[in-house]
Amino acid sequence: MTARARSSVPTLKLMMGLVRFAPWWYTGNAILWTLVWVMPVIPGLISKEFFDGLTGEESVRFGVNALIAFLAAYALGRVATVALGMYSDVNFRFRIGSLLRRNMIGRILALPGARAVPDSPGEAISRFRDDVEHVEEAVDLTVDMLGTTAFSTVAVIVLASINARITLFVFAPLFLVILIAERAGTRIREYRRAAREATGQVTGAIGEMFGSVQSIKVAGAEHHIIGNLRMLNDRRRTVMVRDRVLNSGLESVFWNTINIGTAVILVLAAGAMHGAGAEFTVGDFALFVYFLTFATDAVHFVGIFIARYRQAGVSYERMTELLQGAPPETLVVPRDLELRGEPSPVPAPPERERLNLLEARGLSYRYSDSGGGIEGVDLHLPRGSFTVVTGRIGSGKTTLLRVLLGLLDRNGGEVLWNGRVVDDAAAFFVPPRTAYTPQVPRLFSMPLRDNLLMGLDRSDGELATAIRSAVLEPDLAVMPDGLDTKVGPLGMRLSGGQVQRAAAARMFVRQPELYVFDDLSSALDVETEKLLWERLFADSGLTTSLVVSHRRPALRRADQIIVMNEGRVEAVGSLGELLVTNEELQRLWSEEPVGKPEPA
């Protein structure tokens, strides 16, 4: 109980925050849905009047035709209320859901880029979709709770005025049902989880099976593998059936309250329905049974609300995890979602500022999971210099670039731009100051032109120059739609080399003060690579570059080479010096394929 009490306070706070974000939609919702819930009292009363009319009770005031007219008026009124209620509901839900999503993505895009999402993107998506929906629903259900409370109050008052004793006996068991449902809730969750796990095992096994078809075929193990699948299938059947039966049982408990309630009314009314001016009329009976149905629905709703409220607590925590350290209130910070009117323009990039010298002192970073990283790295990049970082796999080359650019949050050290300390590296190192091509670049499902520009304002001529520098123009020539070619999800319609060169073009078109690229040539064939280096040296002659590479053309051209080993700088110098003094570089140099003859 205490654990629940503790976690429910922030859940409530979150929900209040969301209500405050769209207070008018929420108020509209509350009024309309209370009406939607309370209105069924009317046909109940009409049916009482109808039956009492037939049995000739004295209290009857309206004839059948009048009752039918009332019924029609009620139906039209309820239809209008439902339509308005749905309209306000979807508007409210969409706004609060969008606020949560917008605040999450805003935070993620403000985090160091290489570590912005804690688990996989797929995992994060489920928090954007399912967890937001759970919270939406819990907030939404509060208006239904209001409505059911209002309905129950009205119903109990009306029924008690007819017969207090029967009302008490009929409605008391309903609270028992709430209790049972509450208890069963835990069990349902357990069974649900078991069912999900068993399903996960089956789908996992199928996925593995078809992920290693070749080894299974070669081993001739098809039959045994399927045997394992059958076993997992059977386990899943057991838990699935258990889950469904429990659900159906619970459903029955709810339905039975109506039936048992009806039976109770029958027993209590047994002696009271006889003769004119009877204590309990047929109309009363009809009204009691009718209200009982709705009251049971209301009780059902209480159960659902309790479950959703708890689920919302879990979802709230899961969304907070995604914020990686920002306070949970960040989720509900109000902002203009710009759903209507003119959207604000894309913010302009920062002012260009000439780079004279970029320095870094004692850069350090440690990966919490593997313990690897970099330690005490110094950099000195004067204007116009070409610096190559090299070293074997896992020596910290990529980490160094990421830490310098703020894509990873450094644990120690400082970075100076023209002698000025850079505090927020992630926000500072963007075009036109720097541009970066990661080792495995990502493109997005947009036309190629949008992928290169990403909102930047550049002329076609400038774009063409960048494309040429990146040796992308031969590929572009054969694409039927040219720059309007849709790149497909994650750039999957392009080859690995094309993606890499497109990313290079994306960097070139930004004309940054400092070019940073990570192993640009890893997915390129020898010819293309050679051309790319040539054009790079020809075009970027005046700008400053920081490059991870172990290719000979790059090393040969470098003004300084930084040799990394186990996260530290092992040596810095020109190729000539290092080939004599540094064993690591000698090894890397000799392992590089000579390939075709190079230009002098």
């Binding site: 078809f210 290693s212 039966v245 049982g249 894309v346």
Partner: protein, 585 residues
Amino acid sequence: MIPVRQYWHLLADYLRPHRLRMVLLAVLLFSGIAFQLINPQIVRSFIDQAIEGADRSDLIRLALTFAVLAVGHQVLSVVATYVAENIGWSATNELRADLAEHCLRLDMGFHKTRTPGEMIERIDGDVTALSNFFSQFVIHVVGNLVLLVGILVLLFRENWLVGLGITIFAGTALLAMVGTQNVALPWWKRVRERSAEFYGFLGEQLGGTEDIRSSGATGFFLHRFTRHLRVWLPDAVRGFMGWAVLWSTNILVFAIGTALVYWLGSRLFGEGTLTIGSVYLVFTYTELLRQPLDRIRHQMEDLQKAGAGISRVEELLATSSRLELQGGSSLRPGPLAVEFDAVTFAYQDGHEDIGEVVLDDVSFTVGPGRVVGVLGRTGSGKTTLARLLTRLYDPIGGRVMLDGVSIRATATGDLRRGVGMVTQDVQLFRASVRDNLTFFDPGAADETIMEVLFDLGLADWVYSLSDGLDTQLESGSGGLSAGEAQLLAFTRIFLKDPGLVILDEASSRLDPATEQLIERAVDKLLAERTGIIIAHRLATVTRADEILILDRGRVVEFGERKTLAADPDSRFSAFLRAGLEEMLA
């Protein structure tokens, strides 16, 4: 419209073993419905007798009968759920297993174009939809149809005018409800599409944060985020309004129904045709119609969707392997002779189009017990050579022969036992170490496994695991180093004891200790077996008796290693001089 016939055709074989349980299910369902139908009749008698001032004990007896039938109906429906779910899952589990096995036995050309995710969707997703179809169709559609008909029949029994009136009402109501649903369906589809687009966009953003941040495109992407929301909102509103329309139809239709009951009821009661209890009965039955009408309407959409799943499953079952049927020749145990006789091969992507030729007129012979080192650049056809030997593909020209017999004529089981292959990337399953080593063969003895592990120097590793052979490995690399995974793959081969071993050597560097273990294992593996090694290291090449060099699918050099090494003009001696790594890059 509802694919019942198709569905039955697909599942009849799987449902047949559950015939008795199906009968039981029918009995349960129909008794439940009967209880549901009888209860309003009891209430009718109660009201009529109570008004007439019948004996209190008689009335209480009626009330109790009502309670018993009501509870009985609920119990029956829970039991029916249990039986139906069991039948549904047992039958579709069989279908899942058969479907998986069928697909697993299809040729590699089939698998090359399908991701594991897609296979999960076909084998589990589509079949689960069928399973839902089963329970929904039987319980909800059939059950509710019977209930609907039952109610109407009982109403006719009361009075033909009432029966006719309510029947017309029910028919019109169902038409109106399905009609409005069809109006709303495209709106709901649009909402689902919008949401899929949005999450697709979001997923890309979440995966590309490094590119977005470093390109200074945060503002651009947040702008696109807003644009997605702006187009989504009107569609979301329309989707909700679809629900509102559906609900409104329901309200209006049942208001009309109730009005009809009032009108008919007061008329017939006035004439003395119906008692007050009977009017209440008609009232109750009309209310009871809500459930079947609403459920049937609701199922229409789902049932139509099941059709797509059924045809996908059927299509999958109709796909047959492109490999010709296996032969009946057996392979003798012990080292095997290998012969490629003018083998030509190209991967086929679509159904008919033949791709680039990967192996071109390849011929060579390896005597039993000999070891060949295969050298060549990436793309020269080395891996394809191995795939043809294991008959993952059939050549488009020439023959691959083991012990003088074409492998097309060899029984598949024999071929699998006779040929073992270790590839660079070792696939592990999320299962115990034992199942990983034996490929889930329940017949493998622990002693044999431990013996092999001991021989390979892996015994210490197994003892260090919390549950020994029962320790669960994770999928993918299984939390093992590349070297350990390789050694596990060797263990698999030793347990199989084939006469021919194909080894695609790891090209990455391993730590010296593991490297030594692997060297020892390879020595053992090649003893008394024919070996084909796709070599990446000089150490391996020195182990080979013969050397085969491939270039763009052709054999450019084949001969005894010593002879080739001694000949200064051979490609092989050039390799030795320059170092393998540089030449093969």
